[in-house]
């Protein structure tokens, strides 16, 4: 076994050594691994299922009418009844087969309302988090990677960070409310308001991670090998950033939905003609005793969505990190040491 006592073999002999082929179908083994991890973490699996369920439903709500219209001439919808359709049914009916979540005080089907709001909320969650991720991530990357004091880049870095600090010094919700009230009611106005308060968190997070990665010995080793700074940035820094950012992003989608709904609930966000969870609440809150299903349905929708993303985010850490990936999937048949 030991090679320690054997002198190194001549290079000439070694050049004929067979090169092992790349592992066949790496994506397939990754998929299996992914499944193993999900099975080992029931909570992540729950989160994953919830996120898939919610996303697919939202997709269908939007896409089914769009597809069926040109095909059939009239739009089909997976909503059982039109949303926010006042007076369509008797008011405040308890949940039944016809109306799984009952009807509200305007006589509209609560299930349809909740379902119709899903794409709006989910879309906003993804858009705000996504734009924040890209914008904040890039700024954080710049601020973290080129932060040598006394240079132009150092000045830029400092500027970015001070600007971020200014935004972070306001309470998020209050600032978002203020901006939203200034911009006036509207779907995009309140989205912008949340976005403006959201990106600084990503700058902070990214910069912190970059600063930590930048001083790792493997980055110094790459530099010592003559690897260019740009390549170090992409090969080492960005690659190691993906996991913390993805985790934060997936948990953040839920938080954005909550913030956005709060703005709508207070009445400075989405106009009441658009189905949105926070928007439905002001009308329903008086019914909490007489027709509690209205309030509970909306609450449950928010809860389930946020929970799904949080659970998934927690598990993503394990899924994306090759180190814990193996441990999670390790069974008694773990691979042995490869050293000879």
């Amino acid at each position: 076994m030991s090679t320690a006592t054997v002198p190194a073999r001549r290079v000439a002999e070694l050049s004929s050594a067979p090169v092992p082929a790349p592992r066949p179908a790496a994506w397939r083994s990754n998929l299996i691994l992914f499944w193993q991890i999900l099975r080992a973490n029931p909570l992540t699996l729950v989160g994953f299922i919830l996120v898939v369920l919610v996303s697919v439903t939202a997709f269908l709500v939007v896409v089914v009418p769009l597809i069926t219209k040109p095909l059939l001439g009239h739009a089909l919808s997976i909503l059982p009844y039109p949303a926010l359709d006042a007076g369509a049914f008797p008011v405040t009916q308890a949940p039944s087969f016809a109306h799984p979540f009952g009807t509200d005080n305007a006589g509209a089907d609560v299930f349809s309302n909740v379902l119709a709001a899903l794409p709006t909320d989910l879309g906003i969650g993804f858009t705000v988090s996504g734009v924040s991720l890209v914008a904040g991530g890039l700024l954080g990357l710049v601020a973290g990677f080129w932060d040598k004091p006394g240079t132009l880049s150092g000045l830029i870095s400092t500027t970015i960070m001070r600007l971020t600090d200014i935004f972070l010094s306001f309470p998020t919700l209050v600032l978002a409310l203020a901006i939203s009230a200034t911009l006036g009611r509207g779907e995009y106005q309140s989205e912008l308001a949340v976005l403006i308060t959201w990106w600084p968190f990503y700058v902070r997070l990214t910069r912190g991670e970059v600063l930590a990665i930048k001083i790792q010995p493997y980055v110094i080793a790459a530099r010592a090998a003559g690897v260019t700074e740009t390549r170090i940035l992409f090969r080492h820094v960005v690659r190691n950033l993906i996991e913390p950012l993805a985790v934060y992003f997936s948990m953040d989608v839920g938080t954005v939905i909550v913030t956005y709904s709060t703005i709508a609930y207070i009445g400075v966000g989405v106009p009441s003609s658009i189905p949105e969870w926070g928007n439905l609440m002001p009308g329903y809150q008086d019914l909490i005793l007489t027709a509690p299903w209205t309030v509970w349905s909306v609450t449950a929708a928010i809860f389930v969505t946020v929970l799904g993303f949080s659970l998934l985010g927690d598990g993503l850490r394990d899924i994306l990190d090759p180190r814990s990936r193996r441990i999670m999937a390790t069974t008694a048949s773990a691979r042995g040491s490869t050293e000879k």
Binding site: A4, P217, A225
Partner: protein
């Protein structure tokens, strides 16, 4: 002496790390404080030889190694590599020059990117120096490299965390050797490893050197590793060179009081030599305001007034012109064996705290 010109010549190199100053300091124009990690060191490494750098934490040995590898830019002095001054190389020229010299780091976990596969890690320097090589070619090169460090080529697609500490250090070594550099800086390569694994890696290092003729700069606090791998040894204390010489000279006839103290303090796995040990008292002074004169004067049992004022220069010992020692009392201390330092236990401070008679003598 040696006919071949030295591969690396370090000439009076300094590296100061400025301390961050507060705004008021800047306004008041306070003197700029700095950590003097390396403070005027001259050394050379010859082609194909191993120079061991030993010293405790704060001695500047790692900084010196990083200076030679140009991971730091020196504050002062020159670093000649094959006769070319590389101290202030920048940009493209620096990157191209880097193929001559590679580094193996201490931390077997941190020095390998956890998200890269073995073949990517090992061929990173090749890719950096010869961009445009295809993946298949890089994998072929990686598969060639792994056996030279004692790993099987089947592990090309594994991640570093699947290896033990020794295995990771082999990967680091493979990466460092991938470009066939002229000099490899080994920064505490075995400090994080167990003795059994350490022996494997040290054997491997020596075998690779005789096969490929690399020069090594071995930075470590582990004297037994230096003893096995090094041809010559330099002892650093607080950013200054205390002693340089061939490994046998320095380890068997340590001359500088600090070297004697260091060797005497080593725990030896030999029960028969379980003895009262020499103990140099006192803490290692700070590098911000190092003591004037000899850096070791605060802890030296042989200290005289001159040591506290005048800085000793490196002088050859009478026995061997290649054995240089920076001590004013060189001629007087040269024949004192480390073991006999015992009687001289307790300069300054330490003794006052000890009950009378309770000198380090036990067992």
């Amino acid at each position: 002496m040696s006919v071949a010109p030295p591969l690396v010549q370090v000439q009076d190199v300094q590296k100061y790390f400025p301390l961050t100053r507060s705004l008021t300091d800047t306004i008041r124009r306070h003197a700029k404080l700095a950590i003097r990690a390396v403070d005027g060191v001259s050394l050379e490494v010859r082609s194909g030889e191993t120079l061991g750098l030993i010293g405790e934490s704060g001695s500047g040995k790692t900084t010196l190694g990083w200076l030679v590898a140009r991971l730091h830019e020196p504050t002062g002095g020159r670093i000649l590599f094959d006769g070319q001054d590389v101290a202030h190389l920048q940009g493209k020229a620096l990157r191209a020059w880097r193929r001559n010299i590679q580094v193996v780091f201490q931390d077997p976990v941190g020095s390998l990117d956890p998200r890269m596969r073995v073949w990517e890690i090992v061929t990173e320097p090749i890719h950096a120096q010869e961009p445009g090589l295809r993946k298949a070619e890089l994998r072929r090169r990686a598969a060639e490299l792994l056996p030279t460090v004692g790993l099987v080529p089947d592990c090309l697609d594994q991640y570093p965390h699947e290896f033990s500490g020794g295995g990771r250090q082999r990967l680091s070594l493979a990466r460092a050797l991938s470009l066939r550099p002229k000099l490899v800086v080994l920064d505490e390569p075995t400090s994080a490893l167990d003795v059994a694994v350490q022996a494997q890696i040290l054997n491997r290092l020596v075998a690779l050197q005789s096969e490929f003729g690399f020069a090594y700069l071995l930075i470590t606090h582990n004297v037994s590793a230096v003893k096995y791998v090094a041809d010559r040894v330099a002892v650093l204390y607080l950013g200054k060179l205390a002693e340089v010489g061939t490994v046998r000279e320095v380890l068997e006839r340590p001359t500088h009081p600090y070297t004697k103290a260091l060797l005497a303090a080593l725990p030896v796995p030999d029960v028969r030599r379980r003895r009262a040990r020499f103990r140099i008292s006192g803490e290692i002074p700070t590098l911000i305001r190092p003591p004037p004169g000899c850096r070791f004067a605060t802890r030296c049992p042989f200290v005289i007034d001159r040591c506290r004022v005048e800085e000793p220069l490196l002088r050859p010992t009478p026995r061997d012109p290649g054995h240089l020692v920076a001590c004013h009392r060189l001629e007087e201390v040269i024949d004192i064996a480390p073991e006999t330092l015992l009687v001289m236990e307790g300069s300054a401070g330490m003794r006052t705290a000890l009950p009378s008679g309770a000198v380090a003598a036990t067992t």
